[in-house]
């Protein structure tokens, strides 16, 4: 598939990058407080503010980082923490596969940059934008940069002001991620097949949470639901 250019030719890449920044602004505002929660907990576990910011800036793993902290708090070693993060991150193999159909034709360094900034939220926003035919590298990079900035600034601020902020859950921070996922889920529900696929995935996820150790449901449920949808819609 060629890099989408149809609707962007009249629009310089800087304008498309800024458009991406705007598209990603809700992610920035959602990530900053969750990043702050990460920074606060990381500080409590012995991270310096610089280490918290570097960790967020290089891993950009959201839930994966928070789970890592939980394990570190429970006394797990570095290898166990990294291994668990890898399992939690396995869904990004799937996300990357889905993204690949929207970034064909881009150079390897550009794809590497987009892979680096691939998160649940940037994935959903960029896929949605690609389906409208309005996404290209500049807009996707804008989404990635603003999301990264929110996550890293939030983490640094949380770690620096850990004592002053106190318990972040009193601001409802723990619901910011599920709220973003919910909005992004509704954004993906473009037709009846996708709605039914999402319902099947939800039911699979509940069933798998009961029978599989965490976090395998995160990767198995989407695979089962997408397979069922592909077979049924043949």
């Amino acid at each position: 598939m060629p890099e989408q250019t149809s609707k962007q030719d009249a629009c310089p890449s800087r304008a498309r990058f800024v458009r991406g920044l705007k598209l990603g602004l809700p992610i920035f505002l959602g990530y900053a407080p969750i990043g702050a929660a990460f920074g606060i907990v990381a500080r409590g576990l012995g991270f310096t503010p610089l280490q918290a910011a570097i960790c967020s800036g290089t891993a950009l793993a959201g839930a994966g980082q928070l789970i890592a902290l939980q394990l570190m708090g429970a006394g797990a070693g570095a290898a166990a923490v990294v291994f668990t993060t890898a399992i939690v991150n396995l869904r990004y193999v799937l996300f990357g596969a889905a993204m690949s159909q929207h970034v064909a034709g881009m150079s390897l360094p550009r794809q590497a940059f987009l892979a680096f900034t691939l998160t649940d939220e940037t994935f959903a926003v960029n896929i949605d934008d690609s389906r409208r035919g309005t996404a290209d590298f500049a807009s996707m990079a804008g989404v990635g940069v603003i999301a990264w900035t929110g996550w890293v600034l939030g983490s640094a601020a949380g770690a620096l002001a850990a004592g002053a902020i106190g318990d972040p859950t009193r601001f409802g921070v723990q619901f910011a991620m599920p709220a973003m996922f919910t909005a992004l889920l509704v954004a993906q529900a473009e037709d009846r097949t996708h709605v039914l696929t999402a319902l099947v995935a939800a039911l699979c996820a509940i069933g798998l949470m009961l029978v599989l150790p965490d976090p395998w449901y995160l990767i198995v449920a989407p695979i089962l639901a997408a397979t069922a949808a592909t077979v049924v819609s043949r």
């Binding site: 570095a78 990004y92 990357g96 390897l108 987009l114 709220a179 449920a221």
Partner: protein, 108 residues
């Protein structure tokens, strides 16, 4: 945790981050996939988001909650309706967090 262990976690997570995300993008974007595989991939976003929502609201922090007294679940329903109605993920997220705080206070 010691300083060296923290650095080991930081470096390990950075490597894992990139190693899980990059290869599938780089390889599959250069491959000619059959139509069924493209269709399969097109269902991944909706099913992955549904899985993430369920994990986050039905069993937050690994704890199953009674659906009738689950502030995450009810706030998520309001968030979804808000997004569907107004098509603003920022607005829906703000409404959702406000509802979550209200439901948490109401449901204890």
């Amino acid at each position: 945790m010691s300083d060296s262990a923290i650095w080991a976690v930081i470096i390990g997570m950075a490597v894992v981050n990139f190693a899980t995300r990059f290869p599938s993008i780089a390889i599959l974007s250069r491959a000619e996939l059959p139509a069924w595989a493209k269709r399969w991939l097109s269902y991944i976003p909706a099913s992955a988001m549904a899985t993430l929502v369920v994990g986050g609201v039905v069993r937050p922090d690994g704890q199953w909650l009674n659906p009738l007294q689950n502030p995450y679940l009810w706030a998520s329903v309001v968030t979804g309706v808000a997004y569907w109605r107004f098509r603003s993920s920022l607005g829906a997220t703000i409404v959702g967090v406000a509802c979550f705080l209200a439901f948490t206070a109401l449901l204890g």
